[in-house]
Chain length 319, copies 2
Amino acid sequence: MSLAEQVLEGNIRAAARLMRDIDDDRPQVIDELKRLYPHTGSAYIIGITGPPGAGKSTLVDQLTASFRNQGKKVGVVAIDPTSPFTGGAILGDRIRMNRHSCDEGVFIRSLATRGALGGLSRSTSDVALVMDALGMDIIIIETVGVGQDEVDIVKEAHTTCVVMVPGLGDDIQAIKAGILEIGDIFVVNKADREGADRTARELSNMLDMRRAVEGKWNPRVMKTEAQRGTGIEDLTNEILAHRAFFLSSGTINEFLRERNQRHFMGILRDTLFKKALLFMADNNLCIRVETDMNNHRIDPYSAVEKIISKMMQDSADRV
Amino acid sequence: MSLAEQVLEGNIRAAARLMRDIDDDRPQVIDELKRLYPHTGSAYIIGITGPPGAGKSTLVDQLTASFRNQGKKVGVVAIDPTSPFTGGAILGDRIRMNRHSCDEGVFIRSLATRGALGGLSRSTSDVALVMDALGMDIIIIETVGVGQDEVDIVKEAHTTCVVMVPGLGDDIQAIKAGILEIGDIFVVNKADREGADRTARELSNMLDMRRAVEGKWNPRVMKTEAQRGTGIEDLTNEILAHRAFFLSSGTINEFLRERNQRHFMGILRDTLFKKALLFMADNNLCIRVETDMNNHRIDPYSAVEKIISKMMQDSADRV
């Protein structure tokens, strides 16, 4: 039985195996994903993003518990970017997620590397696809919102929660540019801290400045203390409210169109690149190209043109 | 006269024009870069990276002045990542660079977008190539070290300075994983602040734990107050010391090999992808593929395979 068939029967070990294969960028993965594809689309994807130290992991842990109480199966994809400036701290957080580790209705997967090809957002969407096929009702993608990579990842989510904390001070002003665009719900976590009300008010004011558009979702600012579980029920309800809006307003259709296009482009780019690398390896071209460049006999632009024209010639010869 | 020829004559406006064309991802750029390529390789590239708020822009400004005093021409590539969490603050910093704006020996270029294709590190290396061809002796690449994208950019530099500030507290522990790998020189800026000595000591200790390897460069920790210009001369001298080591030890050969390979791979990937997009546009395939995916008639993996085999067939037919 293929891994895909086992995953569709709910086999968790097969799912874990397939995810490892995705990590390792094995060629057979494509066929497995193709088999899974028609059986996906029913999971609801929630993105949780925000700066380091905002308490995202604890919040994800609480949301997981909350959805479990509603009888939902929950998948968690936790992105640990290998950034030199944030890596350590985030990996530390991960340890806290352990309380769900014996629950068969919870599947947690950390993605730390960007994979050999295609980057973190490709791996994330592939892993989410497997969780979807495995029968997870809710998939939570947690990422540190510091770079473009992470913003791309958040695009995979139906509902995106941006998590802030009081006391980041001037940063609130600094981040105003892009942050408002990506959040469907804003969360001020660690709401017991001094300045929480001010942070929430400032966020609300910024959101108010964008005039409410008829028929569009108006993001709200929620307050939570994830450590103590305060505000989690309200947040869960707000997520469900956004979901109801998302499904009923037709936003979902636009979302799916954009997602299809993004996935297609990503896969196209990676597949072509892999084909070229394989062609070079098969024809012992790697070392020759390298030597020519290192000896200044050719510049990289011309070297690429040469390889591509050889590739095209070769595929013509085969026909 | 081609833009490339004008750039090689030192025409600053032609260089600015070519950089705009790089930003706009115009097809004729490749030919211009090919023409420039044989005339490059003499500029020395310095990377400055570190977390937001470390005072990198001020430091770059001071280093620029320092190298100008030595009669060197200086190009600055300032990366403004479009991250929603850092964007605003960094663009604000940029305004301080103005004091060199009337100096013909200084060429400053901000890169804010990641470009249509190929990402920020491709644009950065192309822009650095133009500055090199224009006759800049020193090229400083300034970037916020928060993501993998930025780490990739730093790889373009011969000497990388990692800038830290006192008072980031626990972060020092958190960042230890990757940061030590990428820095040739560590700078504790805002050294008048409380805790500067501790931060410098902690960094030194971490560096000491990596046993000194015979024949390898041993990074030092420098202290600066960029606002007041303190420590800049020492830092400049340390950069020149690393440069001397870099050139005499043979490290440069390994560096150039890796850079050639990285550039080749990046260009190969982008060029193939562009070719595919062009092929789809020329054959009116875009809408058909999109419609099929949106109607669930095909999954993105199979759609990509179909397009690639059409492409190969087409190139065979032409021969």
